[in-house]
Symmetry: C3
Subunit: 209 residues, 3 copies
Amino acid sequence: MTEPIQHLQLALEIIATISLALSGLISAARKQLDPVGICMVSGVAAFGGGTLRDILLDRRPFFWIENSYWLWALLALVVIAMLLMRSRHLQLTERAIQLPDALGLGLFTALGTQIALGDGLSGIAAVLMGVISAVFGGVLRDVFCNEIPKAFSDHQPYALCALLGGSALVLLQHLGLPDSLALIAAFGLTSALRIVTILRGWRMPGWRV
Amino acid sequence: MTEPIQHLQLALEIIATISLALSGLISAARKQLDPVGICMVSGVAAFGGGTLRDILLDRRPFFWIENSYWLWALLALVVIAMLLMRSRHLQLTERAIQLPDALGLGLFTALGTQIALGDGLSGIAAVLMGVISAVFGGVLRDVFCNEIPKAFSDHQPYALCALLGGSALVLLQHLGLPDSLALIAAFGLTSALRIVTILRGWRMPGWRV
Amino acid sequence: MTEPIQHLQLALEIIATISLALSGLISAARKQLDPVGICMVSGVAAFGGGTLRDILLDRRPFFWIENSYWLWALLALVVIAMLLMRSRHLQLTERAIQLPDALGLGLFTALGTQIALGDGLSGIAAVLMGVISAVFGGVLRDVFCNEIPKAFSDHQPYALCALLGGSALVLLQHLGLPDSLALIAAFGLTSALRIVTILRGWRMPGWRV
């Protein structure tokens, strides 16, 4: 990829990771965790999805081990948040991170799916890896906070947007589109879908069992 | 192994995996998860035990990545179940899967233990791997549904049957029985034990602390 | 290292692992788990932290697979405890294991950090691996018991002592201290810090959100 696109990608990764970490921070604060718990849950929310994908694909080192500034940045973020945030900010932050979180959903889905395709996985398995990259940070965050994962239970299309975006990437690469274009299209589609579902308040049907 | 036995083994694997997936589906439906959560929990129930075993033994690729028709089949199963199943079917299904689940317990215990022995593990570690293969899909299912794992708390001999069956496999191979015979014996013993415990309603003693 | 120190280290590892297993046993007993659940939760508490570290660092075989007497010892410990322990012993045991647990915290932090440094990890990532080694056995124990991890929520400095001790090890090795001395210093510092926090009843500040 050209250099400006690489810079844009890094900028998006940083923004998306910060919003994931803040989602962990909010959950941890609501459960009255102590400072150690807040750091851990924020870290799991931010890095858990990509780490689980890498364990499943047997890839090492993890990005947060290769580039340890991610860990320093997380630590700084949590310390600053604990010094400056008050309870009236929690809900505000929760709403403010919806947009960067949607961008992150798109980016991590697209990157995760492409990495898995590069490892030779079939389309459906690669899409699943993309979804896991994007969604399981939040899932593990909720498990450690002793809650049913929101991604499994809140009836909002979240992993579903990732599923559709990842499938688009597989399809577009299959049709011969260059990798970088397919990546951008999948990123755009996933994020746009997620933003539309938030704006429109779309919900998945429940199972009338 | 001869071809008919391989076909029988595949048929048993399919039946057992379906019953594991249905156990996830039932748990997810009871917790009112959304369609994404139902897919994920069913998938974790069906593939989680074997996947955890493979991570612990550092084996790749996972069977559901190597043969992605497992993922398509899971998706189809969940979609069909959501279209056809109603609440009065849940309890019926729960009873109907007890027998295939017992067969799966035997099969996955025997296969998991044998794979681990083939990797050079000691007897006790191999049996543990067999138990993990057979039981941890359900354990992870319950963790994601925010419940104490049933396998740890319902006082029914379940992992215990796996433990005895896996131990029998180690013993029989040690005594010089051919691998395939030891496998079949361990499968039969585990499944039979499980079925007897269900029919007789046997329960493990609690700890009178 | 010289032989007496190796023997001392092994003795400490045994004492610390027993106290971790007993912490799992107490949690499992309080949740009324069945004998299988008690074994599993004790095993996860005892071996989970080191195992997770090894999965993250992609190290195999795990120590409890390489030396399966660890598994036999765990089994024996749980059986003996179930035969001899009564409810009035639970609280007593909980207090009695505080000291060996503090020694284990120091030992596993120091060993985990040193192993990760030997694998070429940066300082902060190595310290995190040390903390994970020492703390995540208990975290996974609480997840399987369907509780918020105590290490994240009880406001006692526990992982924090590990963080400081691990950082000391990184610093001392950086300053050129021989590996074995840095290890002993980090072990001593972590354990001493933990013991002082217990004796003084120190608590981490909550986050006044």
